[in-house]
């Protein structure tokens, strides 16, 4: 069989860069295959997709050598338009990709551009809408849709062209875990029913492996470092070496000293053969020491019986109540649109609750303005671009103090101190634009930290970040939490984050407080996980299948074990990326 995509000794260098982003790529993908491409940010995995859909070299100019054939054609000759008939791309930003004013128009967009007559368009749109299950939404505007629905519309928008290849660029990045699961399931259905060749680019390996894939291609520093069947890849160490997170159950098995074999089929925990490892796992569970230290600090923030609605009679939040103790690290989780961001907004004073109160150190802050609250409760937005407004790092960090009329000398001292805490001191006179994404994120955290807040709320601190950046950001937050006693609340739908870094999870579902418990308990409770659109952790299944009596305890011990081995982990990470002293 001839491959539908074939890279031969392919090297590509962006015009703006010194070094090639892809080097000597040799990769063949056959019709009907479903391939997962993983790799850390900047490894070149997205560039591979751009080469296939023609964005390279047409939108992103550069030089290439070697050959690339997609269905016998050279994308660099055929152009973006020509390639769009063969390969459809679903971008990571599904809101940005939504071009039409309604679902139907967005799906029809490619057909309109191809001058397909109206009657035929209406037929084809309705057919493809059926496939991705958005038929009832055809007349809806984008702001009436959830993230998952938008993604399905994006899929329909490229499938309407009867493409033979579908490229998914980080399809899971903006979805809550349950919606992500559904997306992977839908992709799998399309692959099986339509025999479409599918390439998924993703660094969230465990979630992407929810359904079978034929092969996993690991990209590292512009080269293909592995191209293997999932079962085989998971038993080896390539993933860890490349800074990609293995599925948690695989990590747990490896921690316990199990020699994983391909024959045990580790691709899915549900179907994995665990008999050979049962005993080892049980023994490991017993030996991993775990003692829970309870800090009894005073309560800094308490939310009491909070109600909120935009329109009367249509409550967004109902009867929300919880206490946050000083120095805690707490995650606020729940599906997209459950009311998490609204809750943060109310705490910061952007919106007024209909009923209920918020106490800061026992004092009611209902009457305080946004600015007054901002001195004690800092908010860090999801993307640094949404906050940074000054060209220089120093000015940006100093902004909050400058507008409060703090004397120049004091500003300087406090900014320098904060920059040192954040590891940005050497860059104090740099322009913000010279920084990497992770560093910019630090600048935004520094600009909040400089005001000495008691609480920092972070909205999706790690969204769209690969494992290395994720670790860097989270370790930094952990450090300011532990060393400086700053209370941290994080809105997230990253379950790893909540398990590994927070002591408590506040679960919001459809405007109600569904649970307020340890992440390990939340993620091992099927009812809670289902209702909040979370996903039960695979560690739970592992524990149950290995006959470990208390799965929650198992998860807690695993996390503890991991955090003890953290030092090692981050140490390795830093060494590996030696020249790139990013954060």
């Amino acid at each position: 069989m001839t491959p539908i995509i074939e890279f031969k000794d392919y090297t590509f260098k962006y015009r703006a860069q010194k070094e090639p982003t892809l080097r000597d790529i040799n990769l063949s993908i056959y019709p009907g295959e479903k391939v997962l491409i993983v790799g850390p940010s900047g490894s070149g995995k997205s560039t591979i997709a751009h080469c296939i859909n023609g964005l390279v070299p047409f939108s992103f100019a550069g030089e290439s050598s070697g050959t690339l054939k997609v269905k016998g054609e050279n994308p660099a000759k055929l152009g973006i338009f020509g390639m769009s008939k063969i390969a459809g791309t679903v971008l990571q930003d599904t809101n940005g990709q939504f071009i039409g004013l309604t679902v139907a128009e967005d799906i029809a967009f490619a057909l309109e551009n191809d001058m397909v007559p109206q009657e035929e368009m209406i037929d084809r749109v309705s057919q493809v809408a059926d496939v991705v299950e958005v038929k009832t939404l055809l007349g809806h505007a984008p702001w009436e849709l959830s993230g998952g629905q938008k993604q399905r519309v994006s899929m329909a928008g490229v499938m309407v062209d009867d493409v033979e290849i579908l490229l998914f660029d980080e399809p899971l990045a903006n979805l809550d875990p349950a919606t992500g699961k559904r997306a992977i399931d839908l992709i799998d259905k399309i692959s099986r029913n339509k025999k479409t060749t599918i390439l998924i680019i993703e660094h969230r390996l465990e979630d992407a492996l929810y359904r079978d894939v034929d092969r996993i291609v690991v990209v590292g520093e512009g080269r293909i470092v592995a191209d293997e069947k999932p079962d085989r890849l998971l038993v080896g160490n390539v993933l860890k070496e490349q800074g990609i997170r293995e599925p948690l159950y695989v990590t747990a098995l490896k921690h316990a000293g199990c020699e994983l074999t391909e024959e045990s089929r580790p691709q899915h925990i549900e179907t994995m053969r665990l008999e050979p490892y049962k005993e080892l796992m049980q023994r490991w569970f017993q030996t991993v020491s775990y003692r829970k230290e309870k800090k009894e600090e005073k309560c800094v923030l308490s939310v009491k019986d909070l109600y909120f609605s935009y329109v009367e009679g249509n409550p967004v939040l109902q009867h929300i109540h919880f206490d946050i103790r000083k120095g805690e690290m707490v995650s606020i989780v729940g599906k997209n649109g459950a009311g998490k961001s609204t809750l943060a907004g109310i705490i910061c004073g952007f919106m007024k609750p209909v009923r209920g109160s918020i106490l800061l150190n026992g004092e009611d802050i209902s009457e305080q303005s946004i600015k007054e609250r901002g001195e004690k409760i800092g908010l860090v937005m999801q993307s640094p671009g949404q906050m940074i407004s000054k060209p220089m790092i120093y000015e940006e960090v100093a902004l909050g103090l400058a507008v409060r009329g703090v004397p120049e000398e004091e500003i300087k001292e406090r900014v320098y101190r904060t920059l040192k805490i954040c590891g940005l001191y050497p860059f104090r006179n740099w322009p913000v634009s010279a920084l990497s994404y992770g560093q910019k994120k630090r600048v935004t955290i520094a600009s909040i930290l400089v005001m000495d807040p008691e609480i920092i709320i972070l909205d999706e601190p790690t969204a769209g970040q690969d494992y290395r950046h994720y670790t860097e950001i989270m370790e930094f937050l952990k450090e300011i939490n532990e060393k400086y006693g700053i209370t941290i609340l994080m809105i997230t739908h990253d379950m790893h984050l909540m398990l590994e870094y927070t002591e408590r999870a506040i679960v919001i579902s459809d405007g109600h407080l569904l649970a307020d418990d340890t992440p390990a308990k939340v993620l091992t409770d099927e009812t809670i996980a289902d209702k909040a659109y979370l996903k039960k952790t695979s560690l739970y299944d592992l524990a149950v299948k290995c006959g470990i009596g208390s799965p929650t305890e198992f998860v807690e011990r695993f996390i503890h074990y991991e955090s003890v081995h953290d030092e090692q982990k981050t140490g390795e990470g830093r060494a590996r990326h030696g020249e790139d002293t990013d954060l």
């Binding site: 071009i99 039409g100 001058m115 702001w143």
Partner: protein, 275 residues
């Protein structure tokens, strides 16, 4: 969210008309009423506009705020005309019938009042036509209509894209403003005017940068799906012209021609009751 001047789906014959028809009607009707100062024509057109507005079942809440705003400007405009050119009417109609003396050089004349009445009638003719067009034309169809009357689809589509992303940009704006306010950048009335102007930069720059990122994504997404491939494109939401459209178009063209004829047949676009 306040939904001012937005399309609302209703079942009236006006809603059922194609966007092209409504666009042509709107353009011809507005043009004619702007050209004509013939009071009889303006009166007929004004009544026509009001009837059409009524038939479109437009509700007060859809247009109320904007209407108040326009009325305010209308009043300002009428006063300004009088202040800057109190004898405009006298000049036009060639007679002077004083009503009463105001102050200084300002006399209120019948001619001036009549002239300003004509100006007001133009407003009352055009405004309902604008409202009717905006609230009965599906924005998706609007781009198709522009394209149909010969405007390049690139322009038509940029209008549609703007409509699509305005809510997103508004959303970004309020998020950024909130976050900056929490950092202490006061945007409310508490801050002085000059510092508010300065503080705007703290919101505008992040807004521009996030919008530019968005533009990047959108233009790639559009290109990946073949936008701009051909000289023409078809429209999913385009409405075919039906009999009602042809009838409406014909009536519009005939009426406009008739009105313009009445206005200009004596070589003067003013109707003069004073001679």
């Amino acid at each position: 969210m306040a939904r001012i001047l937005t399309y609302e789906e209703k079942d009236t014959w006006i809603h059922r008309l194609s966007g092209v028809t409504k666009l042509v009607f709107f353009l011809l009707w507005t043009m004619t009423s702007m050209l004509s100062y013939d009071t009889r024509v303006l009166l007929a057109m004004m009544l026509g506009s009001l009837v059409i507005y009524k038939m479109s079942k437009t509700e007060w809440k859809q247009v109320g705020t904007v209407l108040k705003f326009i009325l305010f400007f209308l009043v300002i405009n009428l006063i300004a005309i009088f202040l800057f050119s109190p004898y405009e009417g006298v000049g036009i109609y060639g007679t002077r019938s004083d009503l009463f003396h105001l102050f200084g050089n300002y006399w209120v004349t019948k001619e001036q009042l009549f002239y300003e009445l004509n100006v007001m009638m133009k407003y009352v003719t055009i405004v309902p036509a604008v409202f009717m067009f905006v609230v009965t034309t599906n924005p998706s169809e609007f781009a198709a209509s522009l394209n149909r009357i010969g405007i390049s689809y690139n322009i038509g589509y940029s209008v549609a894209i703007a409509l699509r992303y305005i809510p997103d940009v508004q959303d970004d704006f309020s998020k950024i403003r909130n976050a900056q306010e929490a950092r202490g950048i006061e945007m409310s009335g508490k801050a002085s005017f000059s510092s508010r102007i300065k503080n705007t930069a703290a919101i505008i720059f992040p807004l521009i940068f996030t919008s530019m990122d968005r533009i990047d994504v959108v233009s790639n997404a559009m290109e990946l799906r073949g936008f701009g491939k051909h000289k023409k494109r078809t429209w999913y939401m385009g409405k075919k012209l039906k009999r009602a459209d042809y009838v409406t178009l014909a009536v519009t063209v005939l009426l406009s021609a008739l009105f313009l004829f009445i206005t200009f047949h004596d070589g003067d676009r003013f109707y003069n009751p004073f001679v």
